[in-house]
Symmetry: D2
Subunit: 370 residues, 4 copies
Amino acid sequence: MSEIGIGIVGGGYMGKAHSVAMAAVGAVFETNLRPRLEMICASSETSAERYRRAFGFARATGDWRRLITDPAVEAVVIATPQALHCEIAEAAFALGKPVLCEKPMGATLAESETMVAAAESSGVINMVGFNYIRTPASQFARKLIAEGGIGTVTWFRGEHTEDFLADPETPVSWRTDGVANGTMGDLAPHMINAALALIGPVESLVASVETVHAQRPGGVVTNDDQAQIMCRFACGAMGQMHFSRVATGRKMGYAYEVHGTRGAIRFDQEDQNALWLYRAEGPEAERGFRKILTGPAHPDYLPFCQGPGHGTGYQDQIIIEARDFLLAIETGAPVWPTFRDGLAVNRIVHAALESARSRSWQDVPSDPRD
Amino acid sequence: MSEIGIGIVGGGYMGKAHSVAMAAVGAVFETNLRPRLEMICASSETSAERYRRAFGFARATGDWRRLITDPAVEAVVIATPQALHCEIAEAAFALGKPVLCEKPMGATLAESETMVAAAESSGVINMVGFNYIRTPASQFARKLIAEGGIGTVTWFRGEHTEDFLADPETPVSWRTDGVANGTMGDLAPHMINAALALIGPVESLVASVETVHAQRPGGVVTNDDQAQIMCRFACGAMGQMHFSRVATGRKMGYAYEVHGTRGAIRFDQEDQNALWLYRAEGPEAERGFRKILTGPAHPDYLPFCQGPGHGTGYQDQIIIEARDFLLAIETGAPVWPTFRDGLAVNRIVHAALESARSRSWQDVPSDPRD
Amino acid sequence: MSEIGIGIVGGGYMGKAHSVAMAAVGAVFETNLRPRLEMICASSETSAERYRRAFGFARATGDWRRLITDPAVEAVVIATPQALHCEIAEAAFALGKPVLCEKPMGATLAESETMVAAAESSGVINMVGFNYIRTPASQFARKLIAEGGIGTVTWFRGEHTEDFLADPETPVSWRTDGVANGTMGDLAPHMINAALALIGPVESLVASVETVHAQRPGGVVTNDDQAQIMCRFACGAMGQMHFSRVATGRKMGYAYEVHGTRGAIRFDQEDQNALWLYRAEGPEAERGFRKILTGPAHPDYLPFCQGPGHGTGYQDQIIIEARDFLLAIETGAPVWPTFRDGLAVNRIVHAALESARSRSWQDVPSDPRD
Amino acid sequence: MSEIGIGIVGGGYMGKAHSVAMAAVGAVFETNLRPRLEMICASSETSAERYRRAFGFARATGDWRRLITDPAVEAVVIATPQALHCEIAEAAFALGKPVLCEKPMGATLAESETMVAAAESSGVINMVGFNYIRTPASQFARKLIAEGGIGTVTWFRGEHTEDFLADPETPVSWRTDGVANGTMGDLAPHMINAALALIGPVESLVASVETVHAQRPGGVVTNDDQAQIMCRFACGAMGQMHFSRVATGRKMGYAYEVHGTRGAIRFDQEDQNALWLYRAEGPEAERGFRKILTGPAHPDYLPFCQGPGHGTGYQDQIIIEARDFLLAIETGAPVWPTFRDGLAVNRIVHAALESARSRSWQDVPSDPRD
């Protein structure tokens, strides 16, 4: 068992989540590598100091370069606004420091490509923070599908829908500015990553995007409120996706359903401790979707609780992610999703925006390594 | 209160449903016009005679022309295979007899157009049997949306999914032969009709269709197992639809969700006595989708039961449909969906098939009358 | 195939339900015995004539004795207020006419005993109208349990809860007067009958009953609003029951759950087309309650629809009941629940009221025939 | 902001949960008092050392007296087997150290009374670990009811059901030995505490308890597998409770429903992020139970996540509990549930066991302070 000094850049929503995760992960997973909350960085010295005290870091800084270059910072979590991801990651890789970067990776496809190149030439651990796919339920779904538990996949439907901008009186903010912060740029990557994880590469797609409320108090909205994709996967399955930040009533609509030739799966993050499974077997009169409650029999549940059905929550996903990051650093084995995996998501986002613009089907370029 | 002689062509799945409906509708709705089960027609004299005894008709015939021309048959229900719809309807209209025709109307778009022309030049009552939209829940959903109960509609998702052909070992049959009997031709119309009823005309769409199991015991499948549509409605809303007969686990997945600027609605025919409604009002801490159980407060429920939550079923939809048909005949007022309304559905099916073929967005021609 | 003249006494809630059932049952189940709606009786000639026209009977009367004695009335359905059940049934049995009597049987335990004696000495078909146990889902649940599908039963919880008197401003009516019309007298029998059908005889119980709103507009309430039972079944299982007409939010809360040593069952009439089944078998990670949608594989579903998940409703239960009544008349074989079965329910009601009065456990006398 | 040295006695199921909570609570709630994981105690030096490393404590011991007396241990969490609770708590109180003791308090009613006396004479903070009532949903339910949000409460139903001993082949263990470890002694307290929190004191009750599987591999079972209570609350409401460790299919069936004169509430810990609320208001056609997803608008949710519907889990309840314990220590204000509150739960357990023994209604003595 040894310590590792963690530096987190950003102290807001995700910065806090990663700080808590780093404080708890050792006790939960009994990791060999124990995080030491070394330094936190925020946009000013004042707010950084506030976060330091709040989350229990040793030191604080208003300058991310100081954090990256500090010798006691041995691994970096990037939880800043998206525009800074690329530069910070490059700096960390240049010093050979492992990076866990929040999704979506770069502000543009070009930036994401730059980040992948930097990560891969450095040879250090790199990981993108697609946390939702790490719930015990979704990990189990992925395993079930991969093992043929529902036969050959024929259909996928996914959505990431919330309603935080459903009210047209909500004023403009950073969220309503710039394509990278729009629904397609910011929400869609989570579900696209899930689609890739569950079903595999997307071969071609057609998409449309829309700004539902173009004017809001304080100004003009410059990015999209909702978007949809229709696609064909490389495995032959068909699929649909839908993304929205104006989906009235939806709070955490990260949901998918998968049809296979011998079964089906349904999941909704709003009820994250249940996975619905249908098996086309046994007497017809006894078939039905079963609601499986997560428990010690499912991936990464047991360290949180010995009792099934007792449930894990949002913060626990980040703890699982932290464990995976630490384990990768410890063992040197790459951890999914790497920056390259994140780039595959960005390529689909890019193709979808292009399809929406041109009103045409687009092929999605496959990873040259594949 | 007076009697009307009913002739039903077809004694199978829907022929029986309409027969039961005609036997029960008078007592349920206390209609002024009381159906007399005058004559039933099937593909042979023998089977017609069997249906006559089973369902309680006065007479039987193996020749649909005899039924249509019989003077005691005053109104006609067409529940034959689709290929015969057009010819039978034309014959009935020529004699000035009202027609309730099962969906989908014609075997081709041209046939559907012929049927509309015949119906409209005859001036008699004509109606297409889209029964699912007549549940108390869906009638109420339609009313709620029309009255602005969820604000301006921004998003629609609909599906009609079943799994009766999910097993690749199910042999070929009439269902697996001919585009009109495929998923897009046969299942999709129900949900497309619902989309039109709930959201209004579709302006443009892009679609794909697929035969998942091209070979089955006994031969080759010539039509589609699943299909999907992405569309823009004339009102500005975006939407997605999905249709499948290989949706493992889905038994009656006639389901939709509608997002509006001030609320949302969800419905699934597998739980047809519940409508889920979200209203963006009241304290944030008390908001949520409410599960409204149908009852006497909802359209056409009370005649079936005085108690809320006691539920209606499949057969009851057909009884409601029969009441609407009889009422239209009695009053002379057209009854939705008319043949022209059915044609609008067929136009979308046609555009979707064309889109799938050409891999391009298609505009949907609007009704010249609109 | 032959006809049977049906006389129905009562044209209100249940009178209508039975009338519709008799109009439809032949076409639905293709019964050998076909009901002829011969005569309906109501409390006045005027209302009887109104019901006759509404439901399609041949004749009407304001005097139930005329109905019973009319030679064309060959079988009788009693759907009057409870106070008349005994007298009418006795008259019918005296003439050897089969009787389907609405629940609960007699207004008192003594009356119920009288009715059983009359039925059994006459030797004709006698049946009590516990309709809810006849849904395809509950019939299947009963079969599953009987066949050991969930192992040995260890626990039963049942409720019959509605909220039609939850509002204290609802005025007094016949429902609020007399113990036989109270919750224990009127609602409880349905669920007690279910308990007996699913689990078997009750050996002992302790109960409490309560009038929540003793004063209502128009006067004083003389019976109970809610009641509860805790019991031991003869098979050894423990159990609880709860009955209420003031269960705010509950519309048709006829619900039960049954635990067995190898499985469990849950059912709620508000979602009557689903049965939830858990089996303690297969990998732990894949266990869960499965939601089985009723379909052709379940008892008495197919005649209503060939498609699973399409659903049956309240009225359909009454149609199934009518089929069972007709079949019993046709074959001469007794049909569950007979009057004697109904008496067993009344004995439990009686014991529960006595337990509530004396605040003590009560043994429930077993049927001397058992 | 200052530190406090925490000593935890016990490193198993609950010992780990409290350790993780103490590691995370500062960062989550930004508490003024920051826990320092000072010492952990287990039944041997070896296992204590293992827990120390695993959870990140500074020191370890196999002797709980050393932990209690260590000057750096300033507050104590008791997570040992129940038999030791009393002695350890007394020792801690004698030194004026605050105690958070796992439920149920003492192994007997007498022990619980001793513990209350020790706590109250010491005057230091004392708290019982009924964690489930601390979910955002249950905290909100409690607040809603207290504020009259569902009117006057008329009915309560609660259960705590799991199935960890449903399989008769599971061998005997500490769980199957001794009344304090039985269902009534060990599981029931959670839900009884919830009943008291939501509805108020229980006035009288009748109960039954049962050992379903008296023989198990390895020996004889000496305590109960399932139990039930029927009761009257001091506020006038009626109620039922059910507890089981053989409830096949139930994983975390901590569930309750509450009927009031103007609304109703339903909750099930298996879906801990949803609270179901019915309000008898607005148009009849729009009423229904709404599924409220917990979010920042609910108690103690926001520190875990800014997004509603993202969910909290089992471990988060323990973190909330830790915050409440620390806050009580910081402010000196007593924290519910105190040992005296825990004693009220034990009195009901005691009365229930007595009722089951004597087969009679039992009055529950009210707290002399009330």
